[in-house]
């Protein structure tokens, strides 16, 4: 049997593509995904008929997707539209290629939540605690951040640093949805959605689609762009309390630590080697939880870590250099993985990290995943 760590540097991302991000009521999920797919195919120059693996997330019907793209692969997986599926999907596709299920896998994600007025709460997503009015992932993250404030003295001004740094990056990204700079004061005076969280702690809701194309390292040499290698990954679920959705009493600290350690050990890199962190910022507190769980700072010390632009380009650890979910686009982790690839290819223009060699992705969720990408 192959061990997971033997997959170090064996699988590469060869093509990435995305649509514009915004409000597109005139196009459906298949249409958005098709545009992202075409952009990824053009990015690497692959003959699309070579693609023999298809993974879709938040797309209604995989077979219709295949029909739309003219694909008849020999490996298909469909994942629900939860953000945590991005890290899971990339790891699943990598292992499928390594196992020989397919040679070239296209991973597609599309979201039409903006134009279709998705609320992410209330009767749209029924839960155990509706009779008490407790609903929405944002409220669960507010509940966690209140605990973090009480346990460690973390302040909302420190939390503001996360949103301010990530918005700064969005201002350097011509494709980002939100491109006006914000300050800590702007954060502190924004309206509450679920106190202690305010509007600027919440991710955007926008339409768009993303595609990644993966293959083996050997085959990756044949394409237009330098391959970016998947050097390490790690995983840990936390399924209790699932009745309190998107919540963990411990901020997923044990799971993030475990997934991070697996990824670091597999890739053979440490914190000092990581040039940028792409963190699933559905709500700003997840960035704090990630920094602690991965060990970039001690437990309870993330508030101090992020102060004075610690997460901005040129700071201690640049986070979400594309503007993340908070300010670039709500592509539920997929666009962050694309940004990792673009940083390592050094295609990022004004937001490029100099000499970028190692980028880490992390999603602190009930299905925690971390992936380490390198230039190989």
């Amino acid at each position: 049997m192959t061990e997971l760590k033997d997959l170090k540097d064996k699988i590469a991302v060869i093509g990435v593509g995305n649509t514009r991000y915004g409000n597109f009521p005139e196009i459906d999920d298949y249409g958005l995904a098709a545009h992202a797919f075409r952009n990824a195919v053009q990015d690497c120059g692959i003959d699309k008929d070579k693609i023999d693996g298809l993974l879709v997330s938040r797309i209604p019907y995989y077979a219709r997707m295949g029909e739309v793209l003219g694909l008849n692969p020999k490996w298909t997986i469909t994942l629900p539209g939860h953000g945590r599926m991005s890290g899971m999907g990339i790891i699943e596709a990598a292992t499928a290629i390594a196992a020989g299920h397919c040679d070239y896998a296209a991973l597609l994600y599309a979201n039409i939540g903006r134009s279709r007025r998705v609320n992410y709460g209330g009767d749209e997503s029924p839960g155990t605690w509706d009779p008490w009015g407790f609903t929405s992932p944002g409220a669960a993250h507010a509940m966690m951040f209140r605990r973090h404030m009480e346990l460690y003295g973390t302040t909302t001004r420190q939390l503001a640093e996360v949103s301010v740094s990530i918005r700064y990056h969005a201002c350097l990204n011509p494709d980002a949805v939100m491109r006006n700079p914000i300050t800590i004061e702007d954060h502190e005076s924004a309206r509450f959605i679920t106190a202690p969280l305010r509007l600027l702690d919440y991710c955007l809701i926008n339409d768009g689609a993303v595609c990644l194309i993966l293959t083996s390292k050997e085959r990756a040499k044949d394409f237009a762009k330098p391959p970016v290698l998947i050097s390490g990954f790690g995983a840990q679920e936390t399924y209790s309390p699932s009745s309190i959705a998107n919540f963990d009493m411990d901020f997923w600290y044990p799971a993030i630590s475990a997934a991070g350690k697996q990824a670091y050990d597999m890739a053979g890199v440490g914190h000092k080697d990581v040039d940028a962190l792409m963190c699933y910022d559905n709500f700003s507190p997840t960035v704090l939880f990630s920094l602690e769980g991965l060990g970039f700072c001690g437990r309870g010390e993330s508030g101090a870590f992020v102060e004075n632009g610690g997460l901005s380009l040129g700071g201690k650890l640049p986070v979400n250099t594309d503007g993340g979910h908070l300010s670039n686009s709500y592509m539920q982790g997929w666009a962050l993985n694309v940004e990792a690839v673009r940083q390592l290819r050094r295609e990022c223009g004004a937001r490029q990290i100099p000499d970028c060699e190692v980028v880490q992705y992390v999603q602190p969720t009930p299905c925690t995943r971390s992936i380490i990408y390198t230039r190989g």
Partner: protein, 133 residues
């Protein structure tokens, strides 16, 4: 005026809980085989997988683990009472539950002792809520 906030969806598993709240009693599902106690109820014990589960009456006492103030009405019934307060309570018996804290004070601390109060919101449903003890 009729009650226009969400009501619990009763099923065979949770019906004993909602029957008991009507009598101002707070029940927790309990495993007679291994002693595990939980809320919400499940079809088997998640520790030992025993299928026969019973109920025990909780003391109604606990401590405040966290709280939030909801400033957005995801249901129309909340529009006129924003913000409203939701709390996370660790019960004396172990399980953690979400509820409403009826106190309006800003002077709250994690770990504060709380106790259950019962509010009959319709003829059929009584909601357990919490207040500072």
């Amino acid at each position: 005026m009729s009650y226009n906030k969400p009501l619990p969806r009763l099923d065979t598993l949770n019906k004993p809980f909602w029957d008991a709240t009507k009598q101002n009693r707070f029940l927790l599902q309990h495993c007679p085989s291994c002693g595990d106690t939980r809320f919400p109820p499940g079809p088997v014990c998640p520790k030992c997988l025993a299928g026969e589960q019973t109920w025990i009456e909780a003391s109604g006492k606990g401590t405040l683990e966290s709280w939030v103030d909801m400033h957005r009405a995801y249901w129309d019934g909340y529009k006129d009472e924003l913000p409203y307060r939701v709390c996370l309570v660790r019960l004396e018996e172990g399980p953690v539950v979400v509820s409403n804290l009826v106190d309006k004070t800003e002077n709250l601390r994690m770990g504060a002792p709380v106790k259950v109060v019962f509010e009959a919101v319709t003829d059929e449903v009584t909601l357990p809520k919490f207040t500072l003890a």
